[in-house]
C-alpha cells in the first residue's frame, strides 16, 4: 500500500510537469493547427536561463526559484520570436507541411545554437538547489517539499489558465481564433496578435515546467527538451490535442503510467508502456480521451 501511494505521488508530480509542457503544444495546435516541435526546446531555453540567473538571485539574497520569472520572460520572447520570424511568414506562403518542417528545423536550430554558445556548450550543467530539501510524513507516505510545491504550482497554473480562456476577453478571443479565424476577424479580433499571445503564454508555461523538472533532476543540457517534449506532446495527443483540459489529463495519465510501470514492472519498460498506451488509446479513440470527432452542423 505504501509503495502504491508513493508511486501515485511520483506519477502525479511527473504528470503535472508533462501537463504544463503539453499545454504549450495544445494551445499552439489549437490556434494554428501546427505541432510546434520547437516547444520542447523552449524548456531547455528556460533551463539555461535559470542556470545563469539563479546564482545572481542567491547572491542578492533571494530564493533561487525566483529565477523562473526571468525564464518565463525569456521563453515567452523566444516563443513569440519563433512565431514572428519563422512560423508566420511560412503560414502566409506555404502549406501545413512547410510549417511542420519549419517547426522541426526550429527545434534543431535551437538545440544546435545552444551547443554553439560558449557559455552553454555540449556538457550538462548542474543547477543549484531549487526548493528546500526534505519533506514530511503523511501517514506512512513521505511527501517531499519539491513534490508538494510542484503539485500545488501546477494545479494553480492550470486553474488560472483555464479561467483565463473561459472568463477573460483575451481568452475568449483565443478560443474564437482557434475555432474560426475569418469569423474572429469579423468580430474585430486581431488574429495575428492573438496567435502571438498564445505563443507567449504556451512558451512561458514551458519555463515553469523547466523549474519543476530541475527541482527534481537538477541537470540542464541542450537536448533535455527532446524526450520531455515528446512525452508532453504524446500527453497532448492522448488527452485530445487542441483541448486544454485534455493536455492536463493526458499529462497526468502519462506520468502515472510511467511511474507505475517503473515501480511495478521495470524502469526500462516505462517508455515502452507510455507509447503503447498512446497507440491503444488512439486506436480506440482517434481524437484522444477528451477529443470529439465533432459533427458540427452547418
Amino acid at each position: 500500500m505504501n509503495t502504491f501511494f508513493q508511486t501515485l505521488i511520483v506519477g502525479l508530480r511527473l504528470g503535472s510537469i508533462y501537463a504544463l509542457v503539453a499545454l504549450g503544444y495544445t494551445m499552439v495546435y489549437g490556434i494554428i493547427r501546427l505541432i510546434n516541435f520547437a516547444h520542447g526546446d523552449f524548456i531547455m531555453v528556460g533551463g539555461y536561463t535559470m542556470i545563469f540567473v539563479m546564482p545572481l538571485m542567491l547572491r542578492l539574497g533571494l530564493p533561487a526559484w525566483l529565477g523562473v520569472l526571468a525564464a518565463i520572460v525569456v521563453c515567452a520572447l523566444v516563443g513569440m520570436g519563433t512565431e514572428l520570424i519563422a512560423y508566420r511568414p511560412v503560414r502566409r506562403k506555404g502549406t501545413n507541411m512547410t510549417a511542420l518542417i519549419t517547426a522541426i528545423a526550429m527545434s534543431l536550430f535551437l538545440e544546435n545554437l545552444a551547443q554553439a554558445i560558449p557559455a552553454i556548450g555540449p556538457n550538462p550543467k548542474v543547477s543549484s538547489q531549487i526548493f528546500g530539501n526534505g519533506g514530511f510524513k503523511l501517514g506512512t507516505v513521505t511527501m517531499e517539499y519539491t513534490t508538494v510545491i510542484t503539485l500545488v504550482i501546477s494545479g494553480i497554473v492550470m486553474l488560472v489558465l483555464y479561467a483565463f480562456t473561459q472568463r477573460t476577453r483575451l481568452g475568449r478571443a483565443m478560443r474564437c481564433v482557434s475555432e474560426d479565424k475569418a469569423a474572429a476577424t469579423l468580430m474585430g479580433i486581431n488574429v495575428n496578435s492573438t496567435i502571438l499571445l498564445t505563443f507567449g503564454i504556451g512558451s512561458g508555461l514551458a519555463a515553469i515546467a523547466a523549474l519543476m523538472y530541475m527541482a527534481q533532476y537538477p541537470k540542464v543540457y541542450t537536448t533535455m527538451g527532446a524526450l520531455l517534449g515528446l512525452k508532453a506532446f504524446v500527453s497532448a495527443v492522448l488527452g485530445g490535442i487542441g483541448i486544454i483540459p485534455g493536455a492536463m489529463l493526458g499529462g497526468i495519465v502519462i506520468g502515472l503510467v510511467e511511474s507505475f510501470t517503473t515501480s511495478y514492472i521495470s524502469s526500462s519498460m516505462a517508455d515502452t508502456f507510455v507509447f503503447l498506451i498512446l497507440i491503444v488509446v488512439l486506436i480506440i479513440k482517434p481524437a484522444g480521451i477528451l477529443g470529439k470527432n465533432v459533427g458540427e452542423k452547418v
Binding site: 474560426d180 469579423l186 468580430m187 474585430g188 486581431n190 452542423k297
Partner: protein
Amino acid sequence: MLEVNNLNVFYGAIHALKGISLTVGDGELVSLIGANGAGKTTTLHAISGLLPIASGSILLDGKDLQKVPSHKIISLGLAHVPEGRHVFARMTVEENLRMGAYIQRDQKSIQKNLDKVYEYFPRLKERWKQLAGTLSGGEQQMLATGRALMTDPTIVLMDEPSMGLSPLLVKEIFSIIETLHRNGITILLVEQNAKMALAVSDRAYVLETGTISMSGKAEELANDDRVRKAYLGA
C-alpha cells in the same frame, strides 16, 4: 455610404471579380443576386478585408477600407454575417453574442444590445446556454445575424441568410431583414433566392461570372424578362 469602384479580385490565376462597381446609400436595402460561383461572396469578403484586392477601391463613408486592417472594419460600423453562418460552435449562444460585441467595453451598452437581439430572436433567448454547434441551421442563422447586431452597426452585409433553410424559416429571416431595414440599418444582401431578395430590396445588382450585368430598382428587375428567366424561374 458604401461605394465599390472598379473592383478586381483574383484567386491565383482565377479572375473572380472583373471590375465591379456598386453603391449602397444610407438606409438602403440593396441586394446582389447571381448564380452560384458568380462572385457574390468574394465581393463581400473584399469589402470586409478578408480578401486582398488587386485593384479598385472600396469606400465606406468616404473612408478607403484598403487602409484599414480587416479587424478594424467593424469599428467603422460595418458588420458582416458570413455565408454558412460561421458561429463559434464550441461557445454558447450568449458567448457568441458577446463576441459580437468584442470591440465594445461598455457593459451597459453590451447588455442593451443583448436585450435587443433577444427581442428580435426570442428563440435565442430560450437557448442562451446551449452550445452554438448544437443549434439547428435556422437558429444558427439567427445567431450569426444577432451577433452582427451586437455593435449597433450602421451597415450590415448578409451573405445568403436563407441558404439551406425551410420555407418557413426563410420567411422568418426575411421578415427580420425587413425589420432591420425599417429600423434604418443599411443592408447589402447577397442571395441566390432572387425572388425573396428582390421583393424586400430597394435596388439590386445582378452579378454574372465576376461582372455586373444588370442593376436598377428591385421592382423593375423583378419584372425584367432576362432576370425572370435566369433567376426567378419564370
